[in-house]
Amino acid sequence: MPGKEVPSGKSAAKAQTKPRYDKIKLPETDEGTMVFNLDPLIIKQHYAIDYLHSYAEDSPFFAGLAEGKLRGSECIKCHYRYATPRACCMQCGKKTKWIELPLAGRIHSWTTCYFGSEAFLKETPFNLALIEFDGINTLLLTRLIGPTQEEMRVGMKVRAKFRRNSKFDPTDVYFVPDEPVARREGAV
């Protein structure tokens, strides 16, 4: 047939693939797959991510820990005072301003953890406590260092201490007893 011939995809492929691609191979590696079980086939998949996490409007709290200061929030409208910072008030939804918290308070509640998330397993047993402060409406979650489970109690006077080498996370502040510690009488 004269003139331009449009090759059909089929015949063009047939003509070219064989010689050109025949010897192409995916490079083999010696990295294997960890297999736990064959039926059903269970393999190991790794999953890890580094985030560029911004503390954003909460940044002054973490910067404050490095200066040995505990910062909370006070609502500009209803004046509710929060022991853990929040930019907006839970009561009325208005904005808050920064306030400085006292560095001493009392245990509102507590526990001793013997198991945990993978990230904290190596630290067990550890105490968690919710701290109440005079003049502040809400609580602060923290680690309570020192007392054993038998010595922890609701109402114990405690004071804040700060890491010298800040990690810029909420464990930069922790609390210790601010009164003599003895074996607890009651259950909590």
């Binding site: 953890c113 198991f115 993978e118 409406n137 809400t138 259950a187």
Partner: protein, 423 residues
């Protein structure tokens, strides 16, 4: 709003690990069970669906919901994912209710799943703890059992609740589950067994806490017209309620109790509420559901409750939120035997999360399926002939009635739905 009925339900047997089925196949199994139970419902009568699963970390598959949906042959009909921590299943159930009540759909399928066995227990704890504030809570030692332990300690301090009372919840629920073939755990325990189990976070031992599970559940909801056509014993959903609270339990207020109809302000003159001892979201969900269902005296007007007992302590806290007893009396309530199978108001006749398992996205739907079978009088039929946990009506003057309660976080999202027999 139109009346909405549950016309069928199905679940997979919850297990510690189910590596032989993907989440899609588990959902399919629960869906097929539900479809099998209502043969007059043709597949093409389903107008759309809602799907629930809690954690993308466990699934490691974003948009997993559509993969369940395309296994059920429900594409290209409407579907969406609903997520709210531990209350994911309860929220999914209510989203399906909304679809039918609004008239958007005549039949809506609600299904949920979780595959928690894909990581080890410690990693699983971490994934769950990521559902707490990751700036202020998680890095301190993020561990939900630790958070609940602190609530339990405060409940003990405020009200004198004892560790033995908490253990009684575990004993009761595990005993009920001895007659539930679907339950993950079948254990005949004593209070001493619970207290001697390894301490996880004081005062909670391993037997005060539910385990992680793989599983799926499915509910089919329909309009009155379709329900009457395809189902011999439809169950009417007579009330739905949902409540919320701040993510951080440290932020919870110390104010006044939200009162239910039968409660007096004088009961709680000196109680700072909710603090960390009570769940304001649970109370709000209860109030809204009771108001819609016309429940004024929960102990008289309900025949059973399936509630979110991820912890024995939270079952005690929830008795109070749901008005089964006064705030502060939850410990005495379990001790009185009232929530036992033959008690005044059986709570968790199925065995609850503690014995049945807690594949998060499926759990709230599992409760609906158990309640549905109860209200159909069909427990034995779905349970290898064992009807020991079948609840009988308290009163002849009204139909058998039950409440289901689904709960997230440290009490951040809670749903309560009231269901009633039509027989």
């Amino acid at each position: 709003m139109r009346p909405v009925y549950m016309i069928s339900g199905g679940i997979t047997k919850f297990t510690k690990a189910n590596p032989r089925q993907s989440f899609r196949l588990m959902v399919k199994e629960s869906f097929d069970y539900a479809m099998h139970d209502v043969p007059k419902l043709r597949h093409d009568m389903i107008d759309g669906s809602v799907v629930s699963y809690f954690s993308d970390h466990f699934t490691r598959q974003l948009m997993a919901g559509i993969m369940a949906t395309d296994f059920l042959g429900l594409c290209p009909k409407p579907n969406k994912r609903v997520e709210g921590g531990g209350a994911t299943g309860g929220l999914c159930f209510q989203a399906a209710w909304e679809a039918v009540a609004s008239g958007r759909m005549n039949v809506c399928a609600a299904y949920g799943f979780e595959t928690m066995s894909h990581v080890n227990t410690w990693k699983g704890n971490e994934f769950i703890a990521l559902a707490s504030d990751t700036n202020f809570d998680y890095p301190v030692g993020g561990f939900y059992s630790g958070y609940y332990a602190m609530m339990a300690v405060r409940h003990m301090y405020e009200f004198g609740t004892t560790v033995e009372q908490m253990a009684m919840v575990s004993v009761k629920n595990h005993k009920n589950a001895l007659h539930n073939t679907w339950a993950q755990k079948h254990l005949d325990l004593t209070v001493e067994d619970v207290r001697k189990a390894p301490m996880v976070a004081y005062p909670l031992t391993l037997l005060d806490i539910c385990t992680m599970s793989d599983g799926a559940a499915c509910c089919l909801l329909a309009s009155e017209e379709v329900a009457a056509k395809v189902c011999a014993r439809p169950v009417k959903i007579i009330g739905v309620g949902c409540g919320t609270d701040a993510m951080r339990m440290a932020d919870r207020p110390h104010g006044n109790v939200i009162l239910l109809k039968h409660e007096e302000p004088s009961w709680y003159k000196n109680l700072k509420y909710p603090g960390v001892h009570s769940f304001r979201a649970g109370r709000m969900a209860t109030k809204l559901a009771y108001e819609q269902a016309g429940i004024e005296q929960p102990l008289e007007d309900l025949d059973f409750v399936e509630l979110h007992d991820a912890y024995t302590s939270s079952e005690i806290q929830t008795y109070e939120d749901m008005g089964l007893c006064r705030y502060g009396e939850g410990g005495k309530f379990i001790e009185s035997g009232a929530p036992a199978l033959k008690g005044k108001i059986p709570v968790n006749p199925s065995g609850g999360l503690i014995a049945c398992g807690h594949p998060v996205g499926a759990t709230g739907l599992m409760q609906a399926v158990f309640a549905f079978w109860q209200l159909q009088g069909a427990v034995a039929q779905h349970n290898n002939g064992d009807g020991a946990i079948q609840i009988k009506p308290k009163k002849k003057s009204r139909p058998l009635r039950g409440a289901i309660h689904s709960h997230a976080g440290t009490g951040t999202y809670v749903t309560v739905s009231i269901m009633e027999s039509t027989q």
